[in-house]
Subunit: 208 residues, 3 copies
């Protein structure tokens, strides 16, 4: 039952990221296949990297039809409900924030499930959460947003850490993931609302 | 014997993709090492991703010397026969189309050989076929062609599906791969000849 | 003891690459997280690819806290000692050259340790050495330096080959890695000093 819960949380995150991916892809004149592909990579890329790092092959995002079906559904919505989505102010960012927390939790949980240490669980939680977005940005030929824009990876890191602590201390097992993901969502939305961001390390490029 | 056939089909695809990769790399003022590297990545990148996803490590493209030798030979031809290649109208596209079908077939076959389901076999067939080209385009710093240009990944998907059906239904085992690859080549060449392409999903970029 | 030696050599290389990564990231207005992330990817990316290809999961760069600690320390230095680093003429290149040899040696050694053949060991030695830099360049949205600039991957290939020969011929086991890495460093620095480079394969881009 517990395991089943994480599959559903994972599919919710997949849906959120796939919508976000489809919308991001829309700015680039991609064709229908391209939009679905970018949507899929955004949604499942982080999980695939996590599964490869855990040796949990084949990656569940590739072998479980529910992930592909979720992506196709979400990409369809991202395309079909486009006029609606456009009127929302930060649509990509919002769906990203929802998926971010879910994925961080699922990634950390899966690493612990495979018997690995807390460091790996926290790092892979973050990789699961931000990996898809990084691959999406690389495919769309731009510097990944997480490297220079608003605070993004830190809430994921926080959610993964809460999940790891929760499992180690045996907090209420059904509640921990929702709590961790909510903290992530809250921090991320606050960061967006108040434009929190880390300053660039160097103001001007050095002569190279 | 059956297994041996797939190795030869795989090497043929490797040769085709390596020539295509070398020619594509030529447009970018890369040095000799760079051309061979891009050629290798184009030819073996998809297969390496497939092998990682199957847990078939080390990836055969890295550990079997015949792949490296084929790439070096093909890259040499792509460089040496350049004036000839330039006079052909769509040289990159043609070699790509040949490799596309072979790789889709080999990828799907290998996934089934490892005992996985039809979905994974079809997806990994496509990944084997288009993965190398995606990595090539990422290295050459451009949006992958499969996301916005002519119909490209769909013939690979088709070939992988035919191969999976053929193996499930126990069609003539020696003929199925050639048939599947030929369908892929035909569809791809028709798409090129008549400029079939999926329309961009959105005509103009949204305000972001 | 022998194994322990390679861990230290690996951490030295990690330090060198992380400084180089932090400095390279500095030219792009990344925030603090972005610089540490790029630094980490530059330092550990090649090793992670190697470990995935060997099936040595989870990759040691992710699961062993010493790598992360080394990267954070080195990135801090790359940021804090920036004014100093800027006055050095080829700082990125120098730290790269140091890491290059160490990583080629460690990668080749690890592949042999897993019982694989010489070809795989030499290729994975090179991948370990140049992989992180390639991923760094892809993230920073530029064509990887190894594809078009000075002689870079060849010294790594040389070091990996020396290490493989040394282990096969049972040379003095403690000395071989230092010798191989020194040859790599020397060739690389000579290539930098005298601007050795392979010529671009084609002077002008073909009409495409």
């Amino acid at each position: 039952m517990e395991h089943q819960l994480f599959v559903w949380v994972d599919l919710l995150g997949t849906f959120a990221f796939a919508v976000s991916g489809a919308v991001a892809a829309g700015g680039r004149r991609l064709d229908l296949f391209g939009v679905v592909f970018v949507s899929y990579v955004t949604a499942c890329g982080g999980g695939v990297i996590r599964d490869l790092a855990l040796g949990a092959v084949p990656p569940v995002g590739l072998s479980d039809w529910r992930y592909l079906a979720t992506v196709v559904l979400a990409a369809g919505m991202g395309i079909w409900a486009r006029p609606l989505v456009e009127r929302l102010q930060h649509p990509i960012a919002f769906f990203d924030a929802v998926g971010l927390g879910f994925f961080a939790v699922v990634g950390a949980h899966k690493a612990l499930l495979h018997g690995h240490n807390a460091e790996l669980a926290i790092l892979l939680g973050m990789v699961t959460a931000v990996g898809g977005g990084v691959v999406r940005d690389v495919l769309l030929n731009r510097v990944p947003i997480i490297l220079h824009k608003e605070i993004y990876a830190l809430p994921a890191l926080l959610a993964a850490a809460i999940q790891v602590m929760g499992q180690r201390m045996e907090w209420w097992v059904t509640l921990t993931p929702w709590f961790a993901a909510s903290v992530c969502l809250a921090v991320r939305l606050l960061a967006l609302r108040y434009s929190w961001s880390l300053p660039p390390v160097w103001r001007k490029a050095p002569p190279q």
